[in-house]
Structures are given as structure tokens and as C-alpha cells.
Amino acid sequence: MNPLGEKYLRKSFLPFLFCPGCGDGMIVQSFLQAVDDLGVADDLAMAAGIGCSAWIPVYMHFDVFKGLHGRAIPAAIGLKASRPSRKVVVFTGDGDGLAIGGLHLIHAARRNIDMTVVIVNNQIYAMTGGQVAPSTGVGSRTQTTPYGNLEKPLDGCKIAIASGATMVSRWSTAHTRQLTRTFKKALNHKGFSFVEVLSQCPVQTGRYILGSGSPQFNLQWLKDNCVAVKDPSQWGEIEAQGKIPVGDILQIEKPEFMEEVQRMNQKVKEEAQAKGGDR
């Protein structure tokens, strides 16, 4: 077994439930590499919802809370609130994170609460067998858009930025080295970090939307369609060409929510003490 797997996987849980050629295993590896490089395994608390991608953290030998479909982020908030020193990481799908859980994404980003949200975008509801997702392209045929998808896809990164996230990146499973580097940045970032990973789902997206169930074909599709750029101002241009811009989009510093809570608590306690008596 790969030494990272040896060190961090919950071996009794193997084999993975992922289909052959799925991108989720590659994400496991990129993430574990980041954890190993930083040596933060003991500080991690993982949260996930429901979906194929929600199983990613379950195989990792960390504390993991895999709750309800769409509700990974509120679970992460509960974990962070009960012990602010832990590093909370969410793994969510494009359906889990943008459809049923979209509201939670907006509000967690707005709070700039310290956590990393990794959204695995395979452009489909994979776990339930290939239905349209909010990230599915216009015209795509899926199990629930048999005549083609009429709805425009949602860009999770743009939502995160507009809502107040302080770190936003997008990569794909064709960029595993960049992904590890970005995971490390995100784990060290104080505030709400959002990492979108475009991932291949040969079995659903590949067969129904892209026209091939071959894992190689699907990975190649990502390579051909993702354009890495350093300057986020170029994103619009790339999108206009029908391609997907990837790269680090945003990293800024803003007051972090739990630190602000602790500051406020300290202040009101001191004020109450100065006043004396009970309130």
C-alpha cells in the first residue's frame, strides 16, 4: 500500500465504495499528502454530508462526522464552535454543497468562520445514479434531463467570493500537485476557505454527458478543458472561450468569526465584572 494510505487510511473500511476510475480516490491522496506535509492529523475534524464524495473523509483515520445530505457545513460549525482550536474540513459534493446545502455555504462564508470546504464537482448527482446537478452544463442529458438541461450551471467559487469567503481556489483531479499545495494553503488559512475540485465521474458524467465511460477519456477531458491561470482577472476571458478557469482566485485576511466571538466574550465578561452583580 501507498505509504500515505498505510499511515492515514482506515484499513478495515477498504475497499473504497468509489467506482473504478472515480476521481474521489485521487482527492483522498492529494489531501492526505497535504495533511502529512503539515503534520496536522491530530487537529483535524472532518465533516461531510451524503453523496459519493461525502465518503472521502470516512476512509481517513481522523475524527469524522458524516451527517445529512447538504448539512456538512452546519455540522462543521458545531464542531468548530465546540472547540475553536481544531481544524475543520468539509467534503461536499456539487449537489450536497450547491443545491440542498447552498444556503449553508453562503452563510458560513459570510461569517468567515475558520474552516475549509472542499467541494467535489463532478457535474452530476453521482450517488443517486446520474441526475442533473446545479453544476451540470446547459444541454446535458442526464437521468432527469432526458431532453437536455435547460438550467444554467451555478459557479460555487463565485458564490463563495460574493458571500465573503477569504480564500477561494479551483483545481481539478488533473492537477493533483496544485491541489495538494492549495489544500495546505487552505489548512493554514485563518478564515473560510473554499476549494472546488473538478472531478471525473466516468460512470455517470462520462457515460451520459461527455460520451465515454473510460476513466482516461474523462481525465483527459478535464486536462483539455481546464485552463490554469495565475491572474483571476483572466477568468472571464477563459469562460468566454467555453473553457474552465482553474487556479487560486482569492486569498485575503479578514477577522475570523470564532476569534471575534472570543474577543466579544472577553469584553462582555469584563464589562459585567466591572458592573458587578449578576445579569
Binding site: D43, I50, H61, F65, A75, I77, G78, L103
Partner: protein, 378 residues
């Protein structure tokens, strides 16, 4: 006599006082009448105790964060009413499945849907027990005074720790908003049940293996155990269970509570214990029934009121005993006959017809009406 202090306060406030005494340091909620005061007073008080009160984006987020905060370490709670309680149901099932101690207060208002936001009702009697999907069990307590809002909140936290289960306080608008004297014992006068912790060496610890009482020990996250907590029916090591493991998992989380009801089930009798006419009540209706019993006594009428304090799991045996010898049973409740179904199931004496004195629309029953009901329906 316990040491403590007496204060006039609202039922909702009494609930908050008890929660803080019990050690609750995480509260997540969403404003909704008639439960909002709990969120408001929590937001005032928790910062002073280094706790956190969060107004979340909805009740789903509130309930989920409460469940996760429990695993994160520490006691957590939320409070809501009708529509919010609907939104919480899936996550209450989550709390059951991941065996997270936590407390949920439902200050009932009229339903269905938005119903009557400022009026009292008891229509969530079954929802509190059966609102989430699948086979499960949990504990539901019904206070009828501000004092019981306090007492039941302490009890709820203790039971949630004892059984690693969500405990619901099924209050209603009358009890939530009533202002009356509440005795608050000093903390050292109260008993608090600590969380059950692993006792075996870390390497030997199996996350979902229960002790003889059906309750597995629970470590906090980030204390070295590296636990998989999934919402699926699980194997002992925490993976998705096969059919046999799922069967055992579900049966255990039900029986850990239902086999130990003698530890917490509570049914009271007010009035003449052997009276042939008995009212059955729960929640705020107990109050009017007590007055009716008193008024009856003045008129030479022997009456008893059977007050069901722990409504779920339904205390069949205690209710049967409390109703022994009754010839006439009148169930009084603010819905179209919910606890009545349980009484019919429990009493099973064909010669006794279970009568229903029902009030809906937000109208609280007056004591005289109980007596009038007895006369008119005779």
C-alpha cells in the same frame, strides 16, 4: 430543603436558566414565536459563560450544528416551535443515529403549517415521537409550569447524557410564556449526569460497541480516538453495516431507552387518587385540570387528574396504574385527540368509554368547562 433562590420568570427563561446550570454552552436556533425568548436570553447569557449562541440560517442548520457540537464536546441545545420543529426532524433522527446527547425544546403553537403563531396548542404530540424517518425511540418530557420548564430541562440534559439520545421538551405557548415563581436550586444541590467515557485503552476502543446497558461510551472529537461518526445504520467499528449489523444497531438504539423507562417515566395523580372520574392531561392543560379538580372537591365531587409528564416512550404501565379503578375517563388536550389514542390503547376495558374534551384554535380550556363537560356528557 434545597438551597437556592426564588425568582419570578417566564417559562422560556426558566428553561434557559436550567440549561446554563446543566452546563449547556452551545445553543443554535432560529427565531420563532413562541420560543424566541429562549434564543434571546441565551444570546444574552452564553457569552458571559464563554459559550456561544448562534442564530443560524434556518432550523435545519441549527439542529445539525447542535448534534455536531455534542460530538465536538459539551452540552448543546436548541428551541423552536411548529414549523421549525418540522425542519428539525431529519436532524433529530441524525442525533438518534449518531447517539449524540442534546436537548430540543418545542414550545408548541397552533398548526398545521404556520397555523397560529401566538396561540397555544398540543398538536405536535405524535410529531415529537414519530417526526423523523425509520424506527427509533427518544424521550419526550411535557412541562406544565415555569418550574417544570426548569426541572424538565435539568432532567432532559441528564437523560440525554445517560442514554446518549436527543431529549425533547414538548412545552406549549402557555407554559413558555407564563410568568410565575421558579425555585432555582444552587448548582451544588443538583445532580448532573456526566458523559459516559471510554474506560478501555484507546487501541481497544470500539466506537459503537455498547456496554451492558446498551449505551456505548463516547469520547469527544480530537481526543485521539479518531472516530467515524456516520448517519447510516452502522457496524460496531462505524462503517456501513450489513443487514445483520444494521438490525442490531437499530434494535439497540431503541432498547437502550425503552428497556430503562423505569429510570425516568413519570405520571402524577392530582386530586382524589381513587376517584371514579379521572381526567388525563399533559402539558399546560394539567393546570386547568387541577383547578377543575379543586372546584369539583368544593362541590363534593371526587375527581382525579392523571398528569403524564414523560409522554414518550409512552408510560403504559404507570398510566394504567394511575387510572386503576376509574369508571369514567376524560382525556383533555388541545388537539383533536392524540394522547387519547394512547389511553385507548393502554386501558383496553370495553366497558369504559374514553371521552375527549378537546380544545383547538388556540383557546385554553377553562376549569369550569371541565365540570360542564362532565355534566353535559353524562
Amino acid at each position: 430543603m434545597k438551597k437556592g433562590r426564588i425568582k419570578v420568570m417566564m417559562g422560556n427563561e426558566a428553561c434557559m436558566e436550567a440549561a446554563l446550570l446543566a452546563g449547556c454552552r452551545f445553543y443554535a436556533g432560529y427565531p420563532i414565536t413562541p420560543a424566541t425568548e429562549i434564543l434571546e436570553v441565551m444570546s444574552m447569557r452564553l457569552p458571559l459563560l464563554d459559550g456561544l449562541c448562534l442564530q443560524m440560517e434556518d432550523e435545519i442548520a441549527a439542529m445539525v450544528s447542535v448534534v455536531a457540537a455534542s460530538w465536538g464536546g459539551g452540552k448543546s441545545m436548541t428551541a423552536t416551535s411548529g414549523p421549525g420543529f418540522c425542519l428539525m426532524q431529519e436532524a433529530i433522527g441524525l442525533a438518534v443515529a449518531v447517539e449524540a446527547p442534546c436537548v430540543i425544546v418545542n414550545v408548541q403553537r397552533g398548526g398545521p403549517a404556520s397555523g397560529q403563531s401566538t396561540s397555544t396548542a398540543q398538536g405536535d404530540f405524535y410529531q415529537a415521537r414519530y417526526g423523523s424517518n425509520g424506527d427509533y425511540s427518544l424521550i419526550v418530557l411535557c412541562p406544565s409550569t415555569a418550574q417544570e420548564m426548569f426541572d424538565h430541562t435539568i432532567k432532559a440534559f441528564n437523560l440525554s447524557e445517560r442514554f446518549r439520545t436527543p431529549v425533547i421538551i414538548l412545552s406549549d405557548e402557555v407554559v413558555g410564556h407564563i410568568r410565575e415563581k421558579v425555585f432555582i436550586p444552587d448548582a451544588d444541590q443538583l445532580t448532573f449526569v456526566p458523559r459516559k467515557r471510554p474506560t478501555v485503552p484507546m487501541e481497544e476502543f470500539i466506537a459503537w460497541k455498547a456496554d451492558a446497558d446498551g449505551v456505548p461510551p463516547m469520547p469527544d472529537f480530537n481526543t485521539g480516538y479518531k472516530i467515524p461518526v456516520i448517519s447510516q445504520a452502522k457496524s460496531l467499528d462505524g462503517n456501513r453495516g450489513n443487514a445483520k449489523e444494521a438490525d442490531e444497531n437499530i434494535r439497540r438504539i431503541v432498547s437502550k431507552i425503552e428497556d430503562h423507562m423505569d429510570e425516568f417515566a413519570e405520571v402524577l395523580i392530582y386530586g382524589a387518587e381513587k376517584a371514579e372520574t379521572a381526567f388525563v392531561t399533559f402539558g399546560s392543560v394539567c393546570r386547568a385540570a387541577r383547578s377543575a379538580v379543586d372546584m369539583g372537591r368544593e362541590k363534593g365531587l371526587a375527581l382525579r387528574s392523571v398528569e403524564v409528564k414523560t409522554v414518550w416512550p409512552f408510560p403504559d404501565e404507570l398510566v394504567r396504574r394511575a387510572l386503576a379503578g376509574a369508571k369514567r375517563i376524560v382525556v383533555a388536550e388541545m388537539n383533536l385527540g392524540m394522547i387519547k389514542r394512547e389511553i385507548e390503547r393502554v386501558v383496553r376495558q370495553p366497558e369504559i368509554k374514553i371521552e375527549l374534551f378537546s380544545k383547538i384554535g388556540g383557546i385554553y380550556p377553562q376549569p369550569q368547562e371541565f365540570l360542564r363537560f362532565l355534566e353535559e356528557k353524562r
